[in-house]
């Protein structure tokens, strides 16, 4: 029997960002194993894209009411639905309702920042009613268990996976010349420059540059990414770094160009305090780039040990300077530490979770 999954997500195909990426990886892993997946996104249009086999995506609907009505219609059209997958906690009450109406199992995915304001009402009860909750990191799991009364066995961790294009390789001197970066060393940060994501810690790196450049005069901080906070960050870079040449803003860099950037850089630095998982850490490490991340959030899960890098307290500038200095002398990241995050491991784990969900008792907990 083919397993049919109805997926309510924030975004998936035709969208950027870590969560869209994660959803694609997950659905492809499940579809590869034979599941049929119908995706209902709030944002991101897949029109014109060729989607993998057994995966279909409806046009995006942002409005809550229209989305709810459309999801009911979709569930009716695609019945029997075996699993309702919910990609964001805010849609949990709807997912719960659909699962109940259509006799499906209810799988909730929590990414981290989305569970912070869980509250005490309907939202919390809808989370507690899930048959299976997956989180990307151990920290998110712990936060969720603290905020909701869910049986811990029901909350599993499915870490992000790193795609095959992220792999070690020789640095491209042509790229260095094209970007005019000089001999380095090069510190690299990759991430959205968004006012809502200031926790990523760009300014902390800028502030550390004078001390670092005293020791490495040609050191440059390369910032990849774009967003509504860019102008402000450029201003802060001028104020904090001391030298206008010390920070280089590249703007948005398409994913396929990231590997060569990682191979060219000497250290990935992002002292983030609230990363749900921090897939960029892993992608950097998968290209051989050693990582300095921030303590907090789920970063510890993407930087499992010294073979990949270290995490520092984002508030501690001296620790950051010391970690950068030490890491610059340690060479490339060890690929054996990245291997468990590769796609075959992720796909096996995802399909085992689906099998576990389907074999478990069918519980339909009331949230009234």
């Amino acid at each position: 029997m083919t397993i049919r999954i109805l997926a309510l997500v924030g975004d998936c195909y035709g969208a950027q960002g870590g969560i869209a990426r994660y959803n694609q990886d997950l659905f492809e892993a499940l579809a590869d194993d034979g599941a049929e997946i119908v995706i209902l996104p709030r944002l991101g249009d897949a029109a014109g894209l060729s989607l993998p086999r057994r995966i279909r995506q409806h046009p995006p609907i942002f409005g809550q009411l229209r989305f709810s009505v459309a999801s009911l219609a979709a569930a009716w059209r695609h019945r029997p639905v075996n699993v309702v997958f919910c990609g964001h906690v805010f849609m949990a009450p709807l997912a719960w309702l659909l699962a109940r109406l259509f006799g499906a199992r209810y799988w909730l995915q929590a990414h981290g920042v989305d569970i912070l304001p869980l509250g005490r009402g309907r939202m919390r009860r809808a989370v507690e009613a899930a048959d299976l909750v997956t989180t990307v990191s151990r920290m998110t799991r712990r936060n969720l268990l603290e905020r909701a009364d869910v049986l811990p066995e029901r909350v599993r961790v499915l870490p992000n996976t790193v795609r095959g294009l992220f792999a070690p390789g020789p640095p491209s001197e042509a790229l260095r010349a094209r970007l005019g970066l000089g001999p380095g060393p090069l510190l690299l940060t990759v991430g959205r420059l968004s006012a809502s994501e200031r926790y990523k810690g760009h300014e902390l790196v800028f502030a550390a540059l004078p001390a670092l450049r005293a020791e490495f005069p040609d050191l440059v901080h390369v910032v990849a990414g774009d967003g509504d906070d860019r102008a402000r960050l450029e201003q802060r870079a001028r104020e904090l770094a001391g030298d206008p040449a010390a920070v280089r803003f590249l703007g948005y860099v398409p994913e396929e160009e990231l590997p060569s950037l990682y191979r060219l850089a000497d250290l990935f630095v992002m002292p983030s305090s609230l990363e749900g998982f921090g897939i960029v850490y892993l992608e950097a490490a998968a290209c051989g780039l050693r990582v300095v991340g921030g303590i907090g959030g789920g970063s510890a899960d993407a930087i499992p040990d010294e073979r990949v890098g270290v995490t520092v307290d984002p508030k501690d500038r001296e620790a950051l300077v010391a970690a950068v200095r030490r890491s610059l002398g340690q060479g490339r990241a060890d690929q054996t530490a990245v291997e468990p995050y590769r796609q075959p491991h992720f796909a096996a784990a995802a399909n085992k979770l689906l099998a576990r969900l389907l074999s478990g008792a069918h519980r339909m907990k009331s949230i009234a």
Partner: protein
């Protein structure tokens, strides 16, 4: 009877097992097993077990653990005793199994080979184990039906860890110490932490009578293979014997259980009080041919020559059955000297266990490793006042529950009128609100504090969250789920056995006994024994709690029967009260409140961080 621990890194991204962490967990349990220590790490580094051994069956090295099956595919670390291992072994041998040792542990491996995790249902005894099945790549955790042996686990989403003690998990260094509101509220309500909670959010108890599978997706929900209420319901459906037949059945059941609990390759002693239950054990032991049994009795200076002194009567019973009698006198200075060690050994906060600490200490001094205890007799024979009080409360007060809110109004009225000044126990205010339902009446009977009193002791947020998660009344009600209605006696027996005995008495017997390397065996706590007893209403009709005296031949002396049931009347109660700094003129049940707070503040509030 030992200490066990293990680590399984089940997700591919999890770092491999850290030998150092295993060693730290092992060390924290050193007193559980002074006779040996063993470790095992799988070739791929994804599973590691450790074991502290107290050698009781097959003292040779062939009984050492962790133990592997002959082909190396199965590995077990096991704490406990299997009393029917010889029968099981004979069955397996008849089917062609070949054994390499005389230990009960090897029987478990071969039985698992044959039946998988369901093999726990055939085991008669007390046990907690972790078993690695390398063919199916799964870890099986299991605990005995009634919860005699403890087993805690911690799952962070990548790696699962288990151990006989919660404090051993913490000692490993990788487990979070975040407080668990449900466990903390539970302790303040009941004086012990109700499973599956502990006081740490990251640590839970494998429920009694459950198995738990950990595969590549992590731990699955525990599977309950035994329920007290269901087994009592089954027993209630059996044919009812007359009074003489019932007494004979009781006697046969006790004889059979004691016979099984004597299986050991070292001498088995008995903890002897002046009560009937432990005396009946000693008498039955003698009748079954145990000679020169050591009987240990606690005595207190304060009671010398007073009716509360248990020693003279215990001496008479010991003499009757030819036992060597050791009377161990405990003084207040010794109690105070031992307090820091008691807090250190206490695995989870509890208001009891002090008597067990000293009687186990005495047994250890006498060179003993194994002792029988009368624990559990009050639960199965109806020895507690709750067997009368709780049904009476429910039958009288049920009508008050028909008017919604009436009970709460009555409680507030009594509280505001100053019930305490009228000499009422603070809990009495809740009589109308709680006393009319089974779970409510039971909570009222067994609680140290009632929910509405906790406002003064705990942070409002912690209290609200803890009560929501603990859901004390529905948790109590769940222990009455038997598929059909139980009689009054069986209801109270089910509640006492699966709540008070499990969370308080058995847990205390474990930490206090193991701290002195003493294995405490409990013949009255045995599903095979419970099933062999007559139905609850028949036990009530023949007054089982007194009929115990006639079980051994010759029966217990007349003086034993004449002694009024005294309950908890050691001066330990008074010491606790004074150690807790409470007023002198309060009864014990309010004194235990002061002690509860002392335990909490001394042992647990400094960041929930015992060493």
């Amino acid at each position: 009877m030992c200490g066990i621990a293990g680590i399984h890194a089940y997700l591919d991204v999890a770092p491999s097992v850290d030998r150092g962490e295993l060693a730290r967990m092992n060390l924290r349990m050193a007193t559980r097993g002074p006779d040996g220590s063993g470790d095992w790490l799988s070739a791929d580094g994804r599973v590691g077990f450790t074991h502290r051994r107290l050698a009781i069956i097959d003292l040779s090295e062939r009984g050492a653990q962790p133990m592997h099956s002959a082909d190396g595919a199965l590995t077990i670390t096991f704490n406990g005793e299997i009393y029917n291992y010889r029968e099981l072994r004979a069955e397996l041998e008849a089917k062609g199994c070949v054994f390499r040792s005389d230990s009960d542990t090897e029987v478990m491996l071969q039985l698992y080979e044959e039946r998988g995790p369901a093999m726990v249902e055939a085991l008669r005894g007390m046990f907690a184990f972790g078993l690695w099945d390398s063919r199916q790549r799964r870890l099986v955790l299991a605990r005995d039906p009634l919860g005699i042996k403890p087993l805690y686990y911690s799952d962070d989403g990548w790696t699962v860890r288990f151990a006989s003690q919660a404090k051993a998990l913490l000692a490993g260094g990788a487990v979070s110490r975040d407080p668990d509101p449900a466990g903390i509220v539970g302790f303040h309500l009941l004086g012990s932490v109700p499973e599956p909670f502990t006081v740490w959010q990251g640590i839970r108890s494998v429920p009694a009578g459950a198995t738990m599978i950990v595969d590549a997706t992590g731990p699955h929900e525990p599977r309950q293979y035994y329920s007290v209420a269901r087994s009592l319901a089954r027993r209630a459906g059996e044919a009812k014997a007359d009074a003489a037949g019932a007494r004979a059945a009781m006697s046969a059941a006790v004889h059979d259980s004691v016979r099984h609990h004597l299986v050991a390759d070292v001498p088995v002693a008995v903890f002897l009080s002046a009560g009937l239950d432990s005396g009946a054990l000693l008498g039955t032991m003698a009748e079954l041919g145990a000679r020169d049994t050591l009987a240990v009795t606690l005595a207190f200076e304060e009671f010398r020559g007073a009716p509360l002194d248990e020693a003279p009567l215990a001496a008479e019973v010991a003499a009757r059955y030819g036992a060597r009698h050791v009377v161990r006198t405990v003084t207040r200075p010794e109690f105070e000297r031992d307090l820091p060690a008691i807090f250190d050994a206490m695995d989870l906060p509890t208001i009891d266990g002090i008597n067990t600490w000293f009687v186990a200490k005495a047994a250890h001094e006498a060179g003993i490793k194994v002792a029988l205890s009368g624990l559990g007799a009050d639960e199965c024979f109806g020895g507690y006042p709750s067997f009368a009080d709780v049904p009476r409360s429910v039958h009288w007060l049920q009508p008050f529950g028909w008017v919604p809110g009436l009970g709460a109004v009555a409680r507030r009225a009594i509280s505001s009128l100053g019930g305490a000044r009228l000499g009422m126990h603070p809990k009495a205010a809740g009589l109308f609100e709680y006393g009319g339902s089974w779970p409510g009446a039971y909570l009222l009977r067994r609680s140290v504090y009632m929910p509405w009193e906790l406002d003064d002791l705990l942070e409002p947020e912690l209290l609200e969250e803890g009560l929501r998660r603990l859901a004390p009344l529905s948790r109590i009600a769940a222990e009455l789920q038997a598929g059909r209605p139980l009689g009054d006696f069986d209801r109270v027996a089910a509640l006492e056995t699966s709540l008070y005995m499990r969370n308080q008495l058995l847990r205390d017997a474990d930490w206090a006994g193991m701290a002195h390397s003493i294995e405490i065996r409990v013949p009255y706590v045995d599903p095979f024994f419970l099933a062999a007893l007559p139905p609850g209403e028949v036990l009530a009709a023949v007054n089982a709690k007194e009929a115990v005296a006639d079980i051994p031949a010759p029966p217990l002396p007349l003086a034993s029967r004449a002694r009024p049931k005294t309950g908890f009347v050691t001066p330990v109660g008074r010491w606790l009260r004074e150690a807790a700094g409470a007023a002198q003129d309060v009864n014990f049940s309010t004194a235990s409140r002061g002690w509860a707070l002392r335990v909490w503040q001394t042992g647990w509030t400094s960041g929930l961080a015992p060493a």
